[in-house]
Amino acid sequence: MTVPADAVSGRRELVAGFVQRHGALAVLALSVVTASLVFESFASFDNASGIAIQSSFLVIVAIGMTFVIICGGIDLSVGSVFALGGVLAAYASRWGTLPALVVPLAVCGAIGLLNGVLIARLRLAPFIVTLASLLGARGLLLSITDEGASTYLVPRESSFVEIGRGTLWGLGYPVFLALALAALAGLVLQRSRFGQSIFAIGGSQDAAAMMGVPVARMKVLTYTLSGLLAGLAGTLNAARLGSGVTILGVGLELDAIAAVVIGGTLLIGGAGTISGTLSGVLLLGVIQNVINQIGNLGSSYQLVTSGAFLAVVVVVQTYLSRTQRLH
């Protein structure tokens, strides 16, 4: 009995495609089940809602990163922008809730816009441009806070903190906001012309331009979105903490990139999903939680585990996309 070669490669391709898209979800489910069996305290509602609220900020940042990576770029500035957004929100909260939202979003959106213009119009490398704004945003933050010496507190009576601390059905508001944003982003990606353009640009920039996609404009929009979302995440975090903490967000861009890539988005662009990113973020959150449960391991091992995970995922991804391409 022999199976035609076509059928075999077809099936392999199908499997490869499935793993590519849903691998993170499968591993996430497996980790959750294993952790629940091993640690009694894991499967509690309190623990789950803790993971959810902690992950919600990274989800918001990672949504922006998903867009950027799908369109073939990278945004290293989101960690700094996240921290800057938090400090600006805390600073502006003295004038009321609305300024505490508008000021950080305006500044962070502007940084994203600047990234986009430099990358799309001046055709500079995304890596370098966003590395520069990583440093620039961090510097801006330090200059506002007297080299990090002063920490702005959100006034105790401000309704701004409610946004970060309020709960519904035992889950924090940021969780719902993150989920709503993820759903919206998924819809935009799959069902809007903007989303299609991003896939096209990441798939082949030249072909996209020839097919009439306004490449530069779409890229500017993508980086602006990434800046806005990073700023929003920082703002929410400040609301939750009640202050603008200057040392936050260091290395956050790498967590976001890791989550996006673990979620099956191709690092070279052109393919990816928001649902995958969601699984990726939660997986990182669960790993962190489990290592905290073990207790005596120490948080350093969290990095080791996340790193190992990322390495495995990238290897598998490369293998899978080669399998699919060979067809």
Partner: protein, 501 residues
């Protein structure tokens, strides 16, 4: 046709630094006509296409489209006016689904969102009309090249194209796919869409096209109904040869007798899907074998396959009676083969390095001792070859980029000759170099063959081929169609074989 033509080109000129790419080119294309555009390499076809599609702007002349004068600055303007281009390489997004590719930028929407079910349904229906029955939700790259080409065509037509420019659309298609494509082209022509069809496959042109325009050296040398011109005349127009005429090359006119012994180079059954079909030939020591054929016939591909620069599906190569275990460039060099590529700027010369560095580049591995290369030995070698090939440079330190085309070519030759090769493959060795240098390079080829090298010569210059080669192997659509040897080798015979072989 008595109405105003859809496209009318009048006296268009296009200059690039040092070159007049288009000279006084005129062309009329009535609605619904399938017009063939032919010419050899460098004849100006691509420049003309680029001028029509807004990639380049004409320096002089007028283009009228749909009754109005136009001057496109950007490809997008041409597209919006209804000029669509289908390139040799499919220009779509491989990772996106077939339907999304087909509809990118004009997706059907409902409540502001893309209506996926409707888009997929319409995509299936549209493609079915082109004979493509696939799951349109699958990524484009899962389709064969032919089907991808059809998607590109369907997309081009769907965006209300009135003029379709097709640049070598069949070069990567299977025969069956070519038939489907022809059917679609005929249907489009009936719907009054004009088609400018660029191809080197003359048989295809005769089956498909109404009129033909022949470009040579940037000028229109012939335009008229295709039915009124036979293949032989068409080829002679493309190659720029009046039938008969005297040679002015520097080759000695007496044919060399090949040296006795086994063939120095033997290629057997070289096969590459859609490119080469079972090509076999051999070259003896002291013999120059020409590979003839029109552009796209597989001449360069054959040479590249032999030296391992183009992976083949099947085929074997023998050098000096020994079969190469595997075909790779490293194995080819080791076996004593050297190749002068067609595009010397992209694939050969390193313009920023000096003459010396360029010459000893390939010889480095054989010159070193314990990892170090003696400067004195390099200088000796460079000196010998600069004298022997009469390379005109101010010094061995001069940048190669500053040399003339002919001298660059000699530097490349020197690079390979200092490896002491047994087989030399020359792809268009005299293209783009001036007359004087051309004669010198030709004399050099002669000299090298006399010294016992086996030489494969590829040239679009028919005269060079006929006078330089002792034997000519003729290729057409990637297969050997004939061979001429000794006194049989003349321009008539070559053109005849290309037309009817």
């Amino acid at each position: 046709m008595d109405s105003v033509p859809l496209l009318s080109v009048r006296g268009v000129c296009k200059r690039f630094p040092g070159v007049l790419a288009l000279q006084d080119v005129s062309l009329d294309l009535p609605a619904g006509q399938v017009h063939a555009l032919v010419g050899e390499n460098g004849a100006g076809k691509s420049t003309l296409i680029k001028v029509l599609t807004g990639v380049h702007r004409a320096d002089e002349g007028e283009i009228a489209y749909d009754g109005r004068p136009v001057d496109f600055h950007q490809p997008k303007q041409a597209q919006q006016a209804g000029i669509s281009t289908i390139y040799q390489e499919v220009n779509l997004i491989p990772l996106m689904s077939v339907a999304r590719n087909l509809f990118l930028g004009r997706e059907p929407r409902r409540f502001g969102l893309i209506d996926l079910p409707r888009m997929n349904r319409e995509a299936s229906e549209t493609l079915a009309r082109y004979g493509v029955h696939v799951d349109v939700r699958k990524p484009l790259r899962s389709l064969g090249l032919g089907a991808q080409q059809m998607v590109a065509l369907a997309r081009a037509v769907a965006i209300d194209a009135k003029l379709l420019i097709m640049d070598e659309p069949t070069s990567s298609l299977e025969p069956r796919e070519v038939e489907t494509l022809f059917g679609v082209v005929r249907e489009l022509s009936q719907r009054h869409i004009s088609i400018l069809y660029v191809s080197h496959r003359l048989d295809e042109l005769y089956r498909l096209c109404d009129e033909v325009t022949v470009l040579r050296d940037g000028r229109v040398v012939h335009t008229g109904p295709l039915a009124a011109i036979d293949k032989l005349t068409l080829i002679s127009k493309m190659l720029g040869r009046d039938l008969g005429g005297d040679g002015v090359t520097k080759f000695t006119h007496d044919r060399r007798a090949a040296l006795p012994g086994p063939p120095q180079l033997r290629a057997e059954g070289m096969d590459k899907r859609n490119l080469l079909h079972d090509i076999s030939f051999e070259v003896r020591r002291g013999e120059v074998v020409g590979l003839g054929g029109l552009l796209g016939s597989g001449r360069s591909e054959t040479a590249k396959a032999i030296v391992g620069a183009l992976p083949v599906d099947r085929g074997s190569v023998w050098v000096g009676g020994r079969r190469l275990a595997r075909l790779s460039t490293a194995a080819a060099i080791k076996a004593g083969m050297a190749m002068l590529p067609e595009d010397r700027k992209a694939e050969g010369i390193i313009a920023d390095l000096s003459v010396r560095e360029n010459i000893v580049l390939a010889a480095m591995p054989s010159l070193h001792r314990a990892g170090l290369v003696s400067r004195r030995r390099q200088d000796q070698i460079v000196d010998v070859f600069m004298k022997r090939l009469r390379i005109k440079a101010s010094s061995p330190q001069q940048r190669v980029g500053e040399l003339s085309g002919g001298n660059q070519q000699k530097v490349l030759l020197a690079r390979w000759l200092c490896l002491n090769p047994r087989v030399l493959l020359l792809d268009e060795p005299t293209r783009g170099i001036d007359v004087g240098a051309k004669a010198e390079v030709q004399a050099l080829i002669d000299e090298l063959a006399r010294a016992g090298l086996a030489v494969v010569l590829i040239s679009s210059d028919l005269e060079e081929l006929v006078e330089g080669a002792d034997r000519v192997v003729l290729l057409k659509a990637g297969a050997v169609v004939g061979e001429l040897a000794g006194d049989q080798v003349d321009e008539h015979a070559v053109m005849g074989m290309l037309a009817h072989g």
